[in-house]
Amino acid sequence: MNVDIVLVEDTPDILQNLTEILVMENYSFKVAGHGKEALQVLADHEASLIITDLVMPEMDGLTLVREVRKLHAWKNIPIIILSAKIDPATQEEGLQAGATCFLKKPCDVDLLLTTIANLLKRV
């Protein structure tokens, strides 16, 4: 099944915020509570974009990004890291691991939506 976005976030409140926003913009999406779950979702669905948090149980965001990039099918899928951890070192690490861009939590809603739109357009 095709979805636009796979959303990976373990905090229920934040998840609710994000899904509400995505719903308003009519994006289709699937959610996962941690990296391992996300890989499963990706395997079962065709997705065009991944939005992931960094700090999660079971498998954290950075590991998820690396695992995704390892697989040929997902080498080019855009990945947004959406995290409260915004120090330069972490950003560097994230981009090195293969993420497409880094957004701070909480970010401006317009910024988030514009970024998503641009990345999906490229695909």
Binding site: I21, K105, P106
Partner: protein, 498 residues
């Protein structure tokens, strides 16, 4: 002068030859020189010797003559007398009997002025005596040994310090009398070095006193020389530093103790700083989520407010308010923990009407938790009143009861049992819910800990931290018993005032 005269005058000594009765037969000039020194009359050949002698010498000379006649053996004696110039003169007089055919024919008297020798001898004796006195009276331990280690010198101070008198130690080996077995090797090395003309300065040596005590001496060992510069022994000079040593040892002990204490203090401080740092880090992490949520919610409202129904708008605003509420509660709890940790919470005990208090409390919890569970209250306590801090106790019980309800979703009730055990009151809060896994039992009282089983159950995770501190403040004991899947019981035991 004839040959005899030449010989007589050339000899060193003064010579008088007498007949057995004391008549002067022959003499040399040196005799008269001696007489000059004393102001005595000169000798005259053919006259009695007694004519030239002072009265006090008669007795001796006549006795000598008598003895010579009888025993016919040489007699030598020493005398000293003050000369006319006021100086003392020492004289050695030798009477040599000359015997021919068994008969005493005459007596050769040889007189030697041995003043120089004597003066020198006296000076030496004085020096020796002074030195001996010096050594004897010195305020230092002075022990001398010969090259084999036998004690040859032992001064008064040595006796005072070590107990042995000179008599005790002379002719004994120093190592036998004074040393402990473990020190003998080093002593032997020092002895050997000194005998090789290498002194050892300021070394510590433990010795045994006569009373068996251990005395620590600070010694210097140097070789003893003969006048010909040959080394004949070793002399040890030093002092008793036992007191200093024991003072030093007790100082060292104190220093070690203080260092230990300091080290422990520093460790404690470091740990405290660590704990605080972790807490700060946890707190900021905990606030980040509600703040992020508020951020997104407000952003969502800004962007989509025209498209929202009034109800949807309202709901979103309520979500924001809930987050604010959550943060406010967390902040208050954190402040409480902070105050408790800084000992700034004062407990005050007032008499609490147990039945009223507990029923009220139970009702409060029941309503606050949405009336999902009944709280069964059982009081098995004879006294109507309890003296305790009403607020703290309420905090404890409400927290535990709320948790009990939260962690037994789907169950119908929780229990609060109050009883007495010895001199303490017991509160037991029991639920029949999820229970706590054994590996989490220790961690549940840590700030912000959330059970691994209950991702969906909201809460800051500070309740139990506060409960623990509150129980400590009430000088009580908190224990818990839990079985995953069966339930959990928290027990608070508070001491009753006498």
């Amino acid at each position: 002068m004839n040959l005899l005269d030449i010989i007589l005058e050339s000899i060193d000594e003064a010579l008088v030859i007498l007949d057995p009765d004391g008549q002067v037969l022959l003499f040399n000039q040196k005799v008269n020189e001696i007489h000059n020194q004393f102001g005595w009359t000169h000798l005259k050949t053919g006259e009695s010797i007694f004519n030239a002698l002072p009265g006090d010498a008669y007795h001796r000379v006549s006795e000598t003559l008598l003895e010579l006649k009888l025993k016919k053996n040489p007699i030598r004696f020493y005398a000293d007398r003050i000369g006319i110039d006021g100086n003392r003169v020492y004289v050695e007089t030798t009477y040599m009997p000359v015997i021919q055919d068994g008969v005493l024919t005459h007596i050769n008297v040889l007189i030697r002025d041995i003043t120089v020798n004597k003066v020198f001898e006296n000076r030496l004796t004085n020096i020796a005596s002074n030195l001996t006195s010096l050594i004897e009276r010195a305020n230092a331990v002075i022990i001398g040994v010969d090259s084999r280690g036998y004690i040859t010198e032992w001064n008064r101070h040595a006796s005072d310090v070590l107990g042995y008198s000179k008599n005790n130690v002379f002719t004994q080996k120093l190592s036998d009398v004074l040393l402990y077995p473990e020190d003998i090797e080093r002593y032997d090395q020092i002895m050997a070095a000194a005998l090789q003309n290498k002194s050892t300065l300021n070394f510590e040596l433990n010795v045994k006193s006569m009373a068996g005590e251990k005395i620590t001496l600070l010694l210097s060992a140097s070789p003893r020389f003969t006048s010909a510069n040959a080394i004949i022994g070793v002399i040890f000079v030093g002092q008793d530093i036992s007191e200093l040593i024991s003072y030093r040892e007790s100082l060292e002990k104190v220093i070690e103790q203080r260092t230990q204490e300091l080290r422990q203090s520093i460790e404690k401080e470091k740990e405290a700083l660590n704990v605080r740092a972790r807490f700060v880090s946890m707190v900021s992490h905990e606030f980040r989520t509600p703040l992020a949520s508020i951020g997104f919610s407000a952003g969502y409202l800004k962007k989509f407010k025209e498209r929202l129904t009034p109800d949807a708008l309202d709901e979103k605003l309520n979500q924001i308010l809930k987050q604010v509420d959550h943060m406010t509660h967390m902040m208050e709890d954190i402040l409480t923990i902070g105050k408790a940790d800084n000992n700034r919470i004062k407990t005050s005990a007032t008499p609490i009407n147990l039945r009223e208090y507990l029923h009220d409390l139970v009702r409060q919890v029941h309503e606050a938790t949405g009336k999902t569970h009944t709280v069964n209250l059982q009081i098995d306590f004879r006294d109507t009143h309890l003296n305790s801090d009403e607020k703290l106790l309420r905090n404890i019980l409400i927290n535990l009861l709320t948790n009990a309800i939260k962690f037994s979703p789907g169950k119908s009730h929780v229990e609060l049992q109050v009883g007495k055990e010895g001199n303490a009151i017991l509160f037991e809060v029991r639920d029949y819910g999820l229970g706590i896994p054994p590996d989490e039992l220790e961690k549940i009282f840590e700030p912000f800990h959330r059970s691994s089983q209950v991702n969906a159950i909201p809460g800051a995770g500070l309740g139990l931290s506060i409960v623990k501190r509150a129980v400590d403040l009430l000088k009580g004991v908190l224990t818990l018993d839990s079985e995953p899947g069966k339930g959990t019981t928290f027990t608070i035991k508070l001491p009753l005032e006498e």
